[in-house]
């Protein structure tokens, strides 16, 4: 059920500040796409534009066209919650709901969207936690608070929560930046597993990670502070990391940036 995402000429604004300018890219279903680039170049802004999380901030707006399987998600008759149900998101910092148990955290999306049947919820908890490589660690303490887990476990809990609602696309905004190498590895393994079912787009500052996990890589950059971010190059990951077309990309991935 994974879907193709097509961005054409997308620009995002915070008030009068233009954060990204004219991004166009196509993301194929059941692939992992990595977005890399220096801080403040608009990777996260672009990612947040894909599930309309960008507009949560006051004054934020967007121009251009973003389609998911040929439906423009910014059409005026599109239901924002439906878009977000289709396109899940994992954030940089783990954000389990503090008043809920592990079990409730996983089924939060289902329960708050009206699923009540206990057997369905039980199934979803087990399946999602197993997909997130967390089941064995928490199966005996599902009624304990989610906030009591370690950072890596919390992040996997958030991933389980995201995939429990069966989205078609999963966006990940630097999901491993607060995690140790072992938890990072667990999440990368998880991404390979999830690739069979979901389209994944990940923002990362870790270029080894981008090279390891992704099928395609997009490199974002800015000319100077205050300029909008642009997509410099978007291609197959091996090509980006071995033989990039653009000089800028090569400078960045070889560490000669700036």
């Amino acid at each position: 059920m994974a879907k193709r995402i097509e961005a054409s000429n997308v620009s995002s604004y915070y008030g009068s500040f233009k954060a990204i300018d004219g991004i166009s890219m196509t993301v194929e279903p059941k692939t992992i796409t990595a977005l890399i680039g220096p801080s403040g170049c608009g990777k996260s802004t672009f990612l947040r534009s894909i599930n309309r999380m960008h507009e949560v901030l006051p004054g934020a707006r967007i121009e251009g066209k973003l389609t998911i399987d040929d439906q423009n998600i910014y059409d005026s008759d599109v239901d924002v919650t439906a878009v977000r149900r289709m396109i899940g998101m994992v954030f940089q910092r783990p954000n389990p709901f503090p008043t809920m148990s592990i079990y409730e955290n996983v089924v939060a999306g289902l329960k708050l969207n009206g699923v009540k049947k206990k057997s369905v919820l039980d199934d979803a908890v087990e399946q999602s936690l197993k997909s997130a490589n967390l089941w064995d660690e928490v199966k005996d303490r599902l009624s304990r608070p989610g906030a009591g887990l370690s950072g890596g476990q919390q992040q996997r809990l958030c991933i389980a929560r995201t995939i429990a609602v069966e989205p078609q696309v999963v966006l990940m905004d630097e999901p491993c930046s607060a995690l140790d190498p072992i938890s990072t590895l667990a999440i990368e393994d998880l991404m390979f597993k999830l690739k069979d079912r979901f389209t994944i787009i990940i923002v990362t500052h870790n270029m080894q990670q981008a090279a390891r996990v992704s099928d395609k890589t997009g490199f974002f950059s800015i000319e100077k502070t205050g300029d909008p971010g642009r997509l410099i190059e978007y291609d197959d990951t091996p090509k980006i990391f071995s033989n990039p077309t653009e000089k800028k990309t090569e400078d960045y991935i070889t560490g000669r940036f700036g």
Binding site: M53, P58, T81, N95, F97, L112, N113, T162, V165
Partner: protein
Amino acid sequence: MTTVQMTPDQLRGRKLSPVVNMIVAVAAVAVAAAVVLGLGIGNWVLVVVMAGVLYLAGLFAAATRVEGRRSARDRIWKTLVYSACVLAVLPLASVVWTLVSKGAARLDGDFFNSSMNNIGARDPNGGAYHAIVGTLEQVGLATLMAVPLGVLGAIYLVEYGRGRFALTVRFFVDVMTGIPSIVAGLFVLAFWVLIVSPWFNDGQPRFSGFAASLALTVLMLPTIVRSTEEMLRLVPGPLREGAYALGVPQWKTILRVVIPTALPGIVTGVMLAVARAAGETAPVLLVAGGAAAINFDPFAGNQASLALFVYQQAGDASRYAPARAWTAALTLVALVLILTIAAKLLARRNRLSK
């Protein structure tokens, strides 16, 4: 050229021993007593104040000699902070002690079982049953009205309010915080008792406990709105975004994620408002009138309240009245305390064991 040395060579330092500290304290008291009482310029209050100042000066001098200036300054500030803490708690302890010692005399079954109906100046008994009923009903009704309004208002301000209208609302909430209770009472008197209540009472204006609740609601609203607003703002944004990312609509996110996270703080704010309302005298006097007999119906006829009862008994000519006033004051404080503790326990009652 002089060089400034920022890092010390020696990491260990000498400590001022507690014995020296004690000696400085005793010496300060002795000197202060000798000066004040010897010269006859004041009583023990001045001795305490002077001893305090002398102790600080002596401690600073001693600590500077032994430990150096930085530690000495640290000691002085620590002492000042502890003193401020004690000074702040003293009046509170004094109030509680006064209430308990003077209120215990009439703390009997009669006090909680009877009203002031048919109690004359020569009768030693009489009770506050009618006042307790009045306080509970008035504050209960006011809470029922103020909490939903206040919490919804705060949700609007934090989650939805944008632009000029939200700013105006917030400004008027701030203005409302400063309304004196007598003004709230006068407002309800003019609006509810004199204009609206005649519609329900064959053209005759009528006092009622409900009118008092309206005035208390006016007083509680700003406290609840402001404290709830602050608590909702403390809920991290990523938590809301986490719920949005699951496709949860905004209203459900607020109801099931934001409010539960902020609940303990909201309850504290509500209890502060309840405590303030329970202690108000003026609005009750103005619009409920006060009564000596029990009136269970808050919508018709005069009603008393504990604060009003204290006010009336304290000024009563009977020699048995002051004891009743003290016991009523003790009851009021105990009531607010019990309500606060109960609310805190309810809010903390998290099904999740930590």
